[in-house]
């Protein structure tokens, strides 16, 4: 995954389009801000979701954050490794720590998300 080629949500998720399949994870900013992640709850493969549907939760030591689907489509794969070992997400949120893959029903929805540059600007505003 190349960060500059991915899109992002204001909920700090990243989405990489791999031939119509959206690979989804959380940004390094989110992983650092949450701190040590202790539990991840994700949906089963095979379920259909709409853009911004809740798809799970992620718990750090003191915080439960809800996850939302950045795109619509069918969930075709869930990263079981991060369910068994949530610390992977803290260590490598962009590669090994991906969350789910969704076969997109409308890739045009990616246009609603931040580009890499827009997300970087958004993070700058958060820190002001």
């Amino acid at each position: 995954m190349v960060p500059e080629e991915c899109t992002y949500t204001k909920e700090h998720e990243w989405v990489c389009n791999e031939g119509g399949v959206a690979v989804i994870g959380i940004s390094e900013y989110a992983a650092v801000e949450l701190g040590d992640i202790v539990y991840i709850e994700l949906p089963e493969s095979g379920s259909n979701v709409k853009q911004m549907d809740p798809i799970g939760t992620i718990e750090a030591v003191k915080t439960v954050a809800e996850l939302f689907s950045p795109v619509s489509g069918e969930i075709i794969e869930v990263n079981e490794a991060i369910i068994e070992h949530p610390e992977i997400v803290n260590r490598d949120p962009f590669e090994e720590g991906w969350f789910i893959k969704i076969r997109m029903s409308d890739p045009g929805e990616l246009d609603n998300l931040f580009s890499f540059e827009e997300y970087s600007e958004f993070l700058g505003e958060q820190e002001d």
Binding site: E11, E41, T63, V64, E66
Partner: protein
Amino acid sequence: MAGWFLIDDKPASGASNMAVDEFLLKRSENEGGAPVLRLYSFRPPAITIGYHQDAECAIDMAAAAVAGLDVVRRITGGRALLHDGELTYSVTAPLGPPFGQGLADTFLAIAGVIVSALRSASVTAEIGGVRHGSGESAMSSPCLVSTSRHEITAGGRKISGSAQRRTGRAFIQHGSILLRSGSERIERYLRGGWRGLAGMITTVEAETGEPGKEKELRGHIVDRFGERFGGEPEELVLTEAVRAAIEGAAAEKATEFYAGKVER
């Protein structure tokens, strides 16, 4: 529009208290609006567990039942806590001003209010400053052992802890302020043979030598919250219909979600 709302609530059961807070979070998520500060306590005393904790693994449910304790699940993170001799607060609000967008901003803004209120009640409180360093991360360990960045201490011992849940547009922060002894008894109900919690925590009563400061502390929290977040509060009155719906949810969830014995 009100700057913020206050619910200075009466003691209630674990399921009722959690159902009210869940309602407030949904309200913030769906309707936005001004922040809500809710102050409350538990009757009977209750153990709340973190959202992802496995109740049977963390708690000796039979021993808790014999002692007459509710065991209920929070929607927020963190670990098990016995609500006895303490004051609980919840803050629900849309993400963004006046709390900031980020997680740390929110924790720090609210911790600042609680520290100021404790100081007004003659407790020398500060953010951080925990002298013991358990570093314990086991999901069965008690909430009060945890030493996260925004915990509130007095004399190097924890006096208040907090946990959050964040949705797409809103957050809720739960916090517990230890008024007198009671919460340390959770060791009796935790699996894993926890001991020594009493030496890691302190209470308002222990720090001031004065019992019965709950009402005074509630007043200080309201005053400091207003100074920080927007003046005099408006009382948030939950209509009979809303209360009835909340109680319905509480009754249902007391035997499902909150009992910790079934699927979340």
